[in-house]
């Protein structure tokens, strides 16, 4: 009911597509990229597996996209979202809001600290569960690069039976959404790290229009 039946009409990039909003670092508050504390009462923290999620936003040529706004949202450790239309019986965590944002640095690098989300049942088939996942929304430099996607966690057996994951027909493409455990950036006795790179389109621009900032 929600997918167009007719083919998309191809459009070469006009100014309307290769331009896009770019946000300043000054819009980011100190704890916007720390979901363990950004909703918590003073002195308290969210409950769950502490993790760091980090990586780069790149274009298809492998160039880091600087100044890209990355927004993310997720369920808590038990798979419960803080949303008024959500009715799953797992409890809310009073110290976890479940969202944050950051802006990539000059090399396209971003990071945030959070709780590993739990799997989540949803009314699709009679027994469908989403794998643990974090939603990402990314602005590159052009509105044509606008992307919303989801990050999954290495080794989760639910990934391969999820109908939303399987909307991607190519197994290699699915793997590009699975973040590996990154022990080299794990902080001993504190948190584990997962690395997640995001690639925005940018290859289709013609050679002489290519610029460092991409489009």
């Amino acid at each position: 009911m929600r997918s167009p039946q007719r083919a998309l009409i191809s459009l070469e990039g006009t100014k309307s597509e290769i331009t896009g909003p770019v946000f300043g670092h000054n819009m980011i508050n100190e704890f916007d990229n720390d979901l363990i504390v950004n909703y918590a009462k003073p002195g308290e923290m969210a409950i769950g597996q502490r993790i760091l999620v980090h990586g780069r936003v790149l274009d298809e040529r492998g160039v880091g996209v600087d100044g890209a706004l990355v927004e993310f949202w997720q369920a808590n450790a038990g798979g419960r979202y803080r949303h008024k239309k959500e009715t799953y019986l797992a409890p809310l965590d009073p110290n976890f809001g479940g969202f944050g944002r950051c802006i990539t640095d000059e090399n396209g690098y971003y990071w945030f600290r959070t709780i590993k989300p739990g799997p989540y049942p949803w009314p699709n088939g009679v027994n469908d569960w989403r794998p643990a996942h974090i939603h990402f929304s990314i602005f590159g430099h052009g509105f044509a690069q606008r992307l919303i996607t989801q990050m999954y966690f290495e080794g989760d057996p639910l990934i391969w039976i999820c109908p939303i994951v399987k909307t991607i027909p190519d197994e290699e493409a699915i793997k590009r959404l699975v973040a590996p455990l990154d022990m080299s950036n794990t902080i001993p006795m504190d948190l584990r790290a997962y690395k997640f790179d995001i690639v925005l389109r940018g290859r289709r621009s013609t050679f002489f229009e290519n610029r460092k900032e991409g489009n």
């Binding site: 009911m1 007719r6 309307s16 331009t19 949303h83 939603h135 929304s137 493409a173």
Partner: protein, 204 residues
């Protein structure tokens, strides 16, 4: 063997899901105290912005005729003189009082979205002038990849007739799906995802 063309592949899109508001418009869903305001909410203009004030109203409607009440809509447009407020704008400097981007969740009861903005100027493309238009991006539960479309204005008949993008649409009967109906200061633009009057979406 030739050398491999080792470009990276774009990260696949996934649906924004029903709880997109948590991340993109938390105040709208009742989560206060983390962000002061929701990004992209409120009028796109301020007192100093140049241009004619307009209101864009519309709904995103599914194949059964039901408005989506969990969609998120973003718009991107040029200023009154046809310049984009973007580092990729190479022709000149846009109105510093107009950022050009807005975000609005569909109303949870009616499905309506509303943008208070200005009418954009004309932007050139390949030696011709495009008609005034606003670019829209739509995501929601059940939409696997964000849908890109454009809204043109019913009071710009002559400009619309020579617009290079509208002229690429082979089936001319589909062109009116991209024309917002202007009455006074309000432009109404309903987006049909599927069926008879299906809106034209672009692969850009």
């Amino acid at each position: 063997m030739v050398q491999p063309l080792n470009y990276l592949k774009e990260s696949p899109s996934q649906t924004a899901g029903p709880y997109v508001h948590i991340g993109c418009t938390p105040n709208f869903t009742g989560i206060h105290g983390v962000y002061e305001t929701d990004l992209g909410s409120g009028p796109l203009y301020n007192d100093k912005t140049r241009g004619e004030r307009i209101t864009i109203r519309g709904r995103v409607i599914d194949g059964s005729g039901t408005p989506l009440r969990d969609a998120l809509i973003e718009i991107w447009q040029a200023d009154a003189d046809g310049f984009y407020n973007s580092p990729s704008e190479t022709r000149g400097k846009a109105d510093p009082n107009f950022f050009g981007w807005g975000r609005c969740p569909a109303d949870m009861a009616t499905g309506e979205f509303v943008f208070e903005t200005i009418k954009p100027g004309r932007v050139p493309h390949a030696g011709r002038l495009m008609a005034p238009h606003v670019t829209l991006w739509i995501v929601a539960r059940g939409i696997n990849i964000g849908l890109q479309t454009r809204m043109y204005f019913s009071d710009e008949e002559a400009a619309n007739a020579e617009d290079p993008v509208l002229n690429r649409i082979e089936h001319r009967v589909r062109v009116p799906t991209l024309i917002g109906k202007r009455e006074g200061d309000t432009v109404t633009f309903d987006i049909y995802l599927q069926g008879e009057n299906e809106t034209v979406f672009f692969d850009i």
